[in-house]
C-alpha cells in the first residue's frame, strides 16, 4: 500500500525559501496544507496533541473506511522526503479548556509563542468537543461521549490505550442518539464489539445526515433503527444509566437547514432500557484559544477573511475548526486554499 500523497503537487523538495510555518493540527486540513507549503519550498513544523499525525482519519474513523496504514505512510512521507517536523502530544493553547482527547498530550505551547517564532501559523484543530444535550440525567455513569468511545476503540487498536479502558460491550444494550457520520460510526464499532445497538433519531431516515444507504447497512447488521423520537430524560439507578425516556415526534415545517422540524408530541413518553447511552448530536469547533486572543463566532468557529487569515495578522485557519463539522474532502479543500494564501502572503503578494 502507498500512503496518501499530501505533497501531490510536486515530486521533490524545491529550493528552500527560508520561511518557517507552524501548523497546529495534523488532520487532513493541516497535512494537506503542509504538503502544499513544502512543495513551495517552505519549512513546516506540525504540532498536534495526539501521539501521531492523522487527526480524525486515524483516531476515530473506522479502519474499514480509511486504512490506518494509508494515513501513516502519508504523514511519514512528509517527514522523510520533505523534512516536516512533527511535535506530537503537544497541545497548543492560549487560555485553558478541556477538549476530547486531552488525555494524550504531555506539554502545552502557547499560540502566541508560535506566532513569534514562525513566519506564519496555520490553525487546523478541527471539532474536538461534543455537543451536550442538556436533559435531566445526562451526566449519569454509562453515558459515553462518541469521540471518547471511538478514541478508546481505535486508540487500543493503535496501541495507545490499554484494553481495560475499552468498555466491554458484549451483549450490552447501547442506545445512540443522532444520525450523522458520528452516530453511524459509533454504531458500527459498538456492533462490532458485540453490543446490541439501537439508534434513536428525531426525524426520519430520509432526513438522516448519514443517509439511508449507510443506515440500511447497519440495519442489515442487526442494529435497530428507531425514528421520530426525541430524548426527554435519562433514567438512572444508583447513579448509573438504566433507561432512556423518549417522546414521539412529528415533522412540521422546514427549518433553516431545509429539513422538516421535529415537533415532540406531548404525552407520548415511553421508556427503553439501555446499559450505555451515546449522544452523537453534533460536535463543536476547538480553536487553540479560549478568550479574546482571536475572533470566533457564536458557535465557537474561528472567523477568517477571504485569505483564510484570522483576526491576528499572520495566523491563518482552515478545516472543520472554521467550517464546523464537514468531511475529509472539504477539510482538504480548505487546507489547500489556505496554504495558497499563506504562500502568497509569505512572498508579499497578498
Amino acid at each position: 500500500m502507498k500512503g496518501m500523497k499530501f505533497s501531490f503537487l510536486c515530486k521533490k523538495k524545491p529550493q528552500p525559501t527560508g520561511k518557517r510555518v507552524a501548523i497546529v493540527g495534523a488532520g487532513p486540513a493541516g497535512l494537506t496544507a503542509a504538503g502544499y507549503l513544502v512543495c513551495k519550498g517552505h519549512n513546516v513544523d506540525i504540532y498536534d496533541k495526539m501521539p501521531e499525525p492523522g487527526g480524525l482519519m486515524l483516531f476515530v474513523i473506522p479502519e474499514f473506511r480509511i486504512p490506518v496504514e494509508r494515513v501513516r505512510l502519508g504523514a511519514k512521507e512528509l517527514e522523510e522526503e520533505f523534512e516536516v517536523t512533527y511535535y506530537p502530544r503537544t497541545k497548543v493553547m492560549e487560555g485553558e479548556r478541556l477538549d476530547e482527547g486531552d488525555e494524550f498530550y504531555e506539554r502545552v505551547v502557547g499560540l502566541d509563542e508560535l506566532r513569534e517564532n514562525y513566519d506564519a501559523v496555520l490553525i487546523a484543530t478541527g471539532i474536538w468537543n461534543v455537543r451536550r444535550i442538556g436533559i435531566p440525567g445526562d451526566d449519569l455513569e454509562g453515558i459515553l461521549s462518541p469521540l471518547e468511545l471511538l478514541f478508546w476503540i481505535k486508540g487500543h487498536e493503535l496501541g495507545y490505550v490499554p484494553g481495560e479502558k475499552v468498555p466491554d460491550l458484549k451483549g450490552k444494550k447501547v442506545g445512540i442518539i443522532g444520525a450523522g457520520l458520528t452516530a453511524v460510526d459509533t454504531a458500527f464499532e459498538c456492533s462490532r464489539l458485540g453490543a446490541d445497538v439501537e439508534i434513536f433519531y428525531r426525524r426520519t431516515i430520509r432526513e438522516a445526515p448519514a443517509g439511508a444507504y449507510e443506515i440500511n447497512i447497519l440495519r442489515n447488521r442487526g442494529v435497530k433503527w428507531f425514528e421520530l423520537v426525541t430524548p426527554k430524560r435519562v433514567i438512572g439507578e444508583n447513579g448509573r444509566v438504566k433507561a432512556i425516556e423518549l417522546l414521539r415526534t412529528r415533522l412540521g415545517k422546514p427549518d433553516e437547514t431545509g429539513r422538516r422540524r421535529p415537533i415532540p408530541i406531548e404525552g407520548s413518553e415511553f421508556q427503553v432500557p439501555v446499559d450505555y447511552l451515546v449522544f452523537a448530536i453534533g460536535m463543536v469547533s476547538t480553536p487553540p484559544v479560549n478568550g479574546e486572543y482571536l475572533a470566533t463566532d457564536n458557535r465557537g468557529r474561528i472567523v477568517v477573511d477571504g485569505r483564510h487569515m484570522t483576526s491576528v495578522e499572520g495566523i491563518f485557519a482552515a478545516g472543520d475548526v472554521v467550517n464546523g463539522p464537514t468531511k475529509v474532502g472539504r477539510a482538504i479543500k480548505d487546507g489547500l486554499y489556505a496554504a495558497v494564501s499563506i504562500d502568497e502572503w509569505l512572498r508579499g503578494e497578498l
Binding site: 448519514a210 472539504r330 479543500k333
Partner: protein, 174 residues
C-alpha cells in the same frame, strides 16, 4: 509503454469528496471527477473509465479522440468540432463541452502530471484507497487487497473475470 488503468472501486469509496477536491484544485475549478449523490445518499464519484474499447473514441467523426501511450483516452482539442457524439455514446456522460476551451474536455488521467513523473492526483490522495492507478495486474491485486479489509456488509462476492472486466472496460460494479 505499458497500459495503465485508473480504477475507482465503489465498494470501498466512502464519498469523502477528496478526489473531486484535488481534481478541482489542479484544473482551476473544473473538476473532471464529479460526485453524484443518490436519493439514499450513496456517493458516486464519476470519472472517465478510459475504457479499453472506448465508444467515444470509435464514434468521433474527426478522430479527435485518441489513446495516449499510458492508455489514457484523450482529446485533441484542435480537431474537436463540438458535435457531442462522444457524449451521446459514453455510458457515464463524461465528455463535457467547455465554452472556454471550445472543445470537449474530460479526464486525461492527469496528462501534465504524468509528464512530470507524477500520478493522477485523485488516486494519490483518496484516503480510502478506493482509487488505484497502474498496470492491470497491479490494479487487480491492489483492489482485492483493499477489499479484503472491508466489512462483510460493504463487500460483494465478485468473480475474477467480473473485476477484470470492470477495471478494463469501465463496467461499473456496485
Amino acid at each position: 509503454m505499458e497500459r495503465k488503468y485508473l480504477y475507482l472501486d465503489y465498494l470501498t469509496c466512502i464519498g469523502c469528496e477528496t478526489c473531486e477536491t484535488v481534481c478541482d484544485f489542479i484544473h482551476g475549478g473544473n473538476p473532471h471527477i464529479r460526485i453524484y449523490v443518490t436519493e439514499n445518499k450513496q456517493y458516486l464519484p464519476i470519472n472517465c473509465k478510459h475504457c479499453d474499447d472506448a465508444p467515444c473514441l470509435r464514434v468521433c467523426p474527426t478522430n479527435a479522440i485518441y489513446r495516449d501511450e499510458d492508455g489514457a483516452v484523450r482529446i485533441a482539442e484542435n480537431r474537436c468540432i463540438g458535435c457531442l457524439a462522444c457524449l451521446q455514446v459514453c455510458p457515464y456522460g463524461v465528455p463535457f463541452y467547455s465554452l472556454k476551451v471550445k472543445a470537449i474536455t474530460k479526464c486525461d488521467m492527469c496528462a501534465e502530471r504524468r509528464e512530470e513523473g507524477l500520478e493522477p492526483a485523485c488516486a494519490e490522495m483518496c484516503p480510502a484507497e478506493a482509487i488505484q492507478y497502474g498496470p492491470l495486474e497491479m490494479v487487480l491485486e491492489l483492489v482485492n487487497e483493499r477489499r479484503a479489509k472491508n466489512i462483510p456488509e460493504h463487500r460483494r462476492e465478485i468473480t475474477k473475470e467480473e473485476l477484470r472486466k470492470s477495471v478494463s472496460s469501465g463496467y461499473v460494479l456496485l
